[in-house]
């Protein structure tokens, strides 16, 4: 239930942002994180960014999902 996925911030509008990963984009809340910037990789849980990742860290986490090594 605490499942979360890394996505990249591609647009910011106030306390909401559009995030994208693997061609899927969605609108999420960013008020739970300090200083979210364009191109940041963030961890998304239930429609909100809850943690910031570095690009390298995000790719590493993402690979786990893409290679099917992790149950979504």
């Amino acid at each position: 239930m605490c499942l979360a996925v890394p996505m990249k911030v591609i647009e910011i509008n106030g306390d909401m942002a559009v995030v994208e990963s693997s061609g899927l984009s969605r609108k999420v809340g960013i008020m739970l994180l300090d200083k979210v910037k364009l191109n940041d990789w963030v961890l998304i849980h239930a429609g909100f960014a809850i943690s910031k990742l570095t690009k390298k860290q995000a790719r590493e986490t993402l690979a786990i999902f893409e290679e099917g090594r992790f149950f979504g």
Partner: protein, 374 residues
């Protein structure tokens, strides 16, 4: 390929790790439960080491009485919105899925933001079932703030949010984790079977990654004080294997420390902003856990400034008093007292396609993970 080699090297290291004495490690995150069984990591454990699941699945620890409240609201004609996992959980007489089949307006959502939008669009009384741990609670707090900001008066929260550290403290105080046999301080006497005392001491905790992303490492400082190590872990096979290796190493050396083995996501200090928003909306309250009973300050209730969003004050919710399901041993599974196959209903009367208990309903429940992945 290089990664596979690294992984098989790690697997070999775990298999052959020399462990002194018997070791029992508890994981307290449903996503870990599933990952462990999906990767088959239980087959890589060295002799003397056992993994057990604790109260790590929010759906599983939610008591029957909460489902009964949601069912009662659905029957009043309120729109019920919820994370999908909750719909099949049986209450004492019905489930939300059954109520939906009978015509109630019950909708699964991905985010409480979607629930708020439903309320704004449909104009009818809409309730969101606010279930989850510290990962989810700030999200719900943020939506509570948005609800007041947008002055949406027909949206409320039926809360059953739970906090992980108080549950671990309760397990320890109950004797399940310390050097004494498990007592009956928590739950009913019937839920605390005798004759397994020597087998129930815990040696350490595999700590939840995304809960820890919010609460940080210091939230577990009480574990080392009780001579228990803990490792915050991610969810890949390599993450979990390395976390187990760290725990076993600490066990062998008599080191009691909290380690962060998921630094790519978890800051040691957690997410302070999320905690601040959470503290603005919610305050700790005593709460009931399936299998663990009432635990002090282990739940969250809306603060007075947000009381207007509390479904329990919005509506008169009448439920019949519940009688516990006698054969279902989900409560014992959640305390790490038994493995799922020890339940007489396991994979017989209670199966993933026809679940009787919450540990089988949730895809992240231990019973479901045992059936699905063996």
């Amino acid at each position: 390929m290089a990664e596979a080699t690294t992984l098989s090297r790690l697997a070999e290291r775990l298999k052959n790790f020399p462990v002194s004495g018997n070791v029992k490690i508890m994981e307290v995150c449903g996503t870990h439960t599933v990952a462990i069984r999906r990767f088959g990591l239980q087959h890589l454990l060295p002799a003397g080491v056992r993994l057990v699941s604790g109260p790590g699945c929010p759906v599983c620890v939610t008591p029957d009485s909460y489902i009964d409240e949601a069912v009662a609201l659905a029957r009043q004609g309120v729109v019920i919105t919820s994370f999908g996992d909750m719909l099949r959980v049986p209450g004492s007489s019905s489930s939300l899925e059954k109520e939906r089949a009978a015509g109630a307006d019950i909708r699964a959502v991905y985010s409480p933001l979607d629930a708020l939008k439903i309320a704004a669009d449909c104009g009818r009384e809409t309730v969101f079932l606010a279930v989850g741990f510290e990962t989810t609670a700030p999200v719900i707090a943020a939506v509570a703030m948005k609800t007041l900001e947008k002055k949406i008066a027909n949206f409320s929260l039926l809360t059953a949010l739970r906090l992980v550290p108080p549950a671990l403290q309760a397990l320890i105080a109950d004797g399940c984790a310390a050097a004494s046999p498990c007592g009956t301080a928590l739950g009913s006497a019937a839920a605390s079977p005798r004759g397994i005392a020597s087998d129930i001491r815990l040696s350490g905790f595999l700590l939840p990654g995304h809960v820890s992303a919010i609460i940080g490492k210091q939230a577990y400082d009480f574990l080392p004080e009780q001579r228990l190590p803990g490792v915050i872990s991610g969810f890949s096979a390599a993450d979990i294997i390395t976390s187990l290796l760290l725990l076993l190493e600490m066990h062998n050396k008599g080191i009691y420390r909290i380690m962060n083995n998921y630094p790519r996501v978890v800051r040691d200090s957690g997410n302070e902003k999320s905690r601040a928003i959470l503290a603005e909306v919610f305050e700790p309250a005593d709460a009931e856990w399936r299998g663990l009973g009432m635990i002090p300050a282990s739940g969250l209730q809306l603060k007075p400034a947000f009381a207007a969003l509390d479904s329990r004050s919005h509506f008169a919710i009448k439920t019949a008093s519940t009688s516990p399901r006698t054969d279902c041993r989900c409560g014992d599974v959640l305390r790490g007292l038994i493995d799922p196959p020890a339940c007489p209903l396991f994979n017989k009367a209670c199966r993933p396609d026809q679940p009787l208990g919450p540990c089988m309903v949730s895809a992240e429940g231990s019973c479901s993970a045992w059936v699905t992945y063996g």
